[in-house]
């Protein structure tokens, strides 16, 4: 099966709890692929397995045809997979610029010896990196805020900075974990446009966890629905929307408050 990311029979357990259960998933290149499901359905666990935070017990994860399960997160990042976090995880005591510079880490070559002797290569590379950082900050709408400590940025800016930092790794596949959480309708709308631009202008494949159905249904090419770690439905937004199992999972007696807002 072709596809940028292929997940086969993925299982992740925590003690007795099966967080992800024999999951199969294919993310096509240049798609915006959403993963939805009630709270605790295993969406973030799936992300954590793909990015190497967790080691799955069973199953395979192929990225561009190569197995990546069990690799360390930094290796996976080098292959071109980056993510953002549900509860923003910036380097709080570093400036916005330093956050983005750190994102470029894998593409920099200068060594610590070069830094000490201030070699020409190091100086040029740092200059380049700073320019790139400014460009990325401007791209996400943080022009002129490079010197602000990340923790002092307003909430919306923090979300944007996290995306800028992720983009700095020049990802092929970007995983966004609830990028619109806590945003007002206006900001949400901007974020949707922005995600589209990432795909259309930069050619980045997007994996998206999202609770706001409007967002999911508007921008996704494909939607996978999880419940209790199992895939219960998959298809285009329209197909998924009409699937009785999805309606059951969301509106069933168990957790009516689970998501749709």
């Amino acid at each position: 099966m072709a596809g940028l990311l292929v997940v086969q029979g993925l299982t992740k357990r925590f003690g007795g709890l099966v967080a992800v259960n024999a999951l199969d998933l294919v993310v096509a290149e240049h798609a915006i692929h959403s993963v939805i499901g009630p709270n605790g359905a295993g969406k973030t666990t799936l992300f954590n397995c793909v990015t190497g935070f967790y080691q799955p017990e069973e199953g395979r994860i192929l990225f561009r045809g190569e197995p990546i399960e069990g690799l360390r997160p930094d290796r996976i990042c080098r292959l071109g997979i980056t993510r953002t976090y549900q509860n923003i995880r910036l380097f709080a005591n570093m400036t916005a610029r330093q956050n983005v510079l750190l994102g470029q880490h894998v593409h920099l070559r200068s060594t610590w010896v070069g830094a000490i002797v201030a070699s020409r290569f190091t100086r040029q590379e740092e200059l380049q990196a700073h320019r790139e950082a400014e460009r990325l900050l401007a791209f996400v709408g943080l022009r002129g805020k490079g010197g602000v400590l990340a923790r002092n940025l307003p909430y919306g800016d923090q979300r944007r900075l996290e995306v800028a930092r992720a983009l700095a790794t020049r990802p092929v596949f970007l995983l966004l974990d609830e990028p619109t959480a806590g945003m007002n309708p206006r900001e949400t709308h901007d974020m949707m446009d922005f995600i589209r631009r990432l795909r259309d202008d930069l050619g980045i494949t997007i994996g998206l966890i999202e609770h706001q159905m409007r967002v999911v249904m508007t921008i996704s090419d494909r939607v996978t629905v999880l419940d209790y770690g199992t895939k219960i439905s998959e298809g285009t937004p329209r197909e998924v929307q009409g699937d009785p199992r999805v309606i059951e999972a969301y509106l069933g007696s168990r957790r009516a408050s689970g998501g749709d807002r």
Binding site: D74, R83, N93, Q98, H105, A118, L149
Partner: protein, 566 residues
Amino acid sequence: MRDALAVGLLSGAVAVYLALVGVVEQLHGRLVLAEPVRLSLGQVALFLAGLVGAMAVARRAAAGSPAAAVLAGALAGVSAGAVLSMLVLAGPALNVRAMFVNASPPLFDLITLGRGPGGVPAILALWGALGAAAGAAARLPAGARRPLAWGAAAVLLLSIFQELAQLILQAGERTAVVADLLFTSDSPTPGAAAVVFVATVALNALWRARGEGFRRRTETIPPAARRVLRMAGPALAVVAALLLPAVGGAFISQVLVIVGLYTLMGLGLNLEVGFAGLLDLGFVAFFAIGAYTVGLLTSVGSLGIAQMSFWAALPVAVIVALVAGVVLGIPVLGIRGDYLAIATLGFGEIVRLLVLSDFLRPWLGGSQGLLDIPKPVFGGVELVGPEHLFYVTLAFSALVAYVAWRLQDSRLGRVWMAIREDEDVAEALGVDLVSAKLLAYGLGAAFAGVGGAIFAVMLGSVFPHSFQLLISINVLALIIVGGLGSLPGVIVGALALVGLPELLREFGEFRFLVYGALLVVMMLLRPEGLWPAAEQRRELREHVEATEPALEAAAAPPTAGEPTGG
């Protein structure tokens, strides 16, 4: 009024504590003034306990009339005096000395002003008067109170450092004259004390009145000139540092060498703790490894193995320390936070105990250590004295500080900072945690190794007793007091926590008492350190800006607590 009583009793208790712990008697030997009244530092310490309490009470009672403040102060003073009187009365009667070694007749004499038990009324009167004076002083406008407090503090400093100043001044013929003008054999001269007091008060008052204008005028200086001015400070510091041994002589040089060694260690530990957030309490091990490597390689004694020169052994020592840092770093890679501190503490102790043991004695000398380490020779000159070693230490400290400074803003420095902030996220952004952490351990250890190497030649011998856990704790304390992650902070911290205690060696073990108390007070009042790192400082400034109006509002009524000047 109950408030005044309570605070008075508390300050009385503090005074009794100071007396019994031995501070008063120890400081009694040092005079602030011989003429017209004989006033010792010990008495000052005792009185300060009462004064501070009375001032606090008066400040709080300030809603009423000035008379109320004076009265409250007096009451606090009398009750503090009463507590002291109890000590004086009960002391000889109950043979308190069997328990408290310092409860000696001289101490009681000192408190009663030599009048014995009959001196109690005098004590009460004196302390009441002191309290009243403090109460009155508390009601002075800040514009008058602050300069006076600074003046008093300056006179005290003159007295505290008189021995040191004499030592330095007596060295030169011309400066010896100055010394005679400033000091008698055991106290500052009345004239000197008066001049210092008046000068400090005047300068302080002038700055209070004109400082704002002066500051505003500096802002109108053209930027180019300002840059020159800004460079002037560090340049002056460098020149001063270069001249210090010549001016200060052997003792000062020795102290500075020790400060330099702690700076080297501090810079190394700062790399681990300040930059990369890796808490290390076994850091002294790498200092020891540097020292022992140089000892073994250069010693001409029985345990020496190579009889190399210091300059040839130094790079070896650095590399050995670096490798040791990496090797001891590998097992603790997966440990975080407090647990890392404890694990490294364990490694540090293991290294020291092994070196100390008879088991390794045939190679490392056990508790007798390594002897006969020759002094380094540089350009045909044997670097014997601390004046020479000072320059060696200064040069290497500068080199290491430069390296640390270059690393701080480099790609590696950013990676360390990211690990400090959130190592999981750093890893997900492609950071190889293993190599980054091992580099921090290795380079940090290498810095300490340089210090150890110099330490070995400074003493001419190496003993395991020099590498106690206490050193690791000291180094950690100094980088935190200086300001975690801040390079100038390391130097400031080393001067404050190592230099000052060394200079005040004559005050004996009480420096550790003060050291401990200062650590606590410092963490309570200024946890970000004396010279915080750039990011922290920026943060602070923004914080201050945000809260300044509130502070001003709070400061407007005269009741607001201002820290006592001095």
